[in-house]
Amino acid sequence: MTSFYLRWTGVLLVGMLFGGLLYAHYTQHLASLTPEQLLHQMPSGEVRLRGLVKSGSLQGELEQGKAVFELVGERVSVTVQYAGPPPENLRELKTLIVVGRWDPMSNTFYARDLALLPHYGFVTSAYVAGLVPLVIVVFSMARRVNALYEEIKRSTVYQPEATPYVDT
């Protein structure tokens, strides 16, 4: 049984390593700012900005990949000037993420790309809900089978004269 538990500790370690790797990967991509944070921090490099496309604010030629719209946060809104490939998912009243730079001079966010709301929570919970029960079931079955083999080995093969129950 010791080798059995050792093997499963190995599986657990690999799983944790993998989870850590994923977490590290996604924290880099997850970092998206709300309009409030953007105005507060005034970052100079490229950032990801998340907000709702304000109703009635979307203008421009989507087919050519040019658009201007307002991205609303909780309290403030930011004007976004989009220039990039024709967007698939740009429409009013939709929450999305724009990738680009903030220009404090013109009070405009120059976006070069759009991304959908990532919903990492759903992805994570689906994988946890799918994989964790499987692992638990495999573990408990493997342990049970090992225990049964031991038990079979211990209980004697049917031999009438050797049974302790026989009332002599």
Partner: protein, 156 residues
Amino acid sequence: MWTREKKIGLAMSIILVVSALGYLIVGNFGENLVYFFTPSEVKAFPPDYYHKRVRVGGMVVKGSVKTYPNRLGMTFQLTDGHATIPVTFDGIPPDLFKEGQGAVVEGYWSEEQLFHSNLIMAKHSEDYMPIELKRAGATLPRKDFLKTLVPSEDSR
């Protein structure tokens, strides 16, 4: 126990069951059994189909969706590439409903050549590809039924 007749009977039963199930499966693949009508078929409805609850599948024509200023609902055009029907809809459309996408609407066709609907089932396609490929104008070898209706839409 296993007489000749019993063996023949069993073989024939197996053939019967397999062919019945096969008819069901293959019949559907050939789309002989319709589960929604196309706009062309709706236009050609005989009068006894008017005011009967049916489903119509098609593509929402780009630029045709008009909402009312002061109440729920909207009108739009549904096409299959050959015929286009006007649809009036009361209610809240699902998230995936948008112009240029496929939709299945439930309702009835009336004398004034208008489809009255109160249920929209938007379909998102089964195509999966990265966004770069999509922007490069990639298409996949098999196309959704609703998308094949309008060939020009694919190159977008």
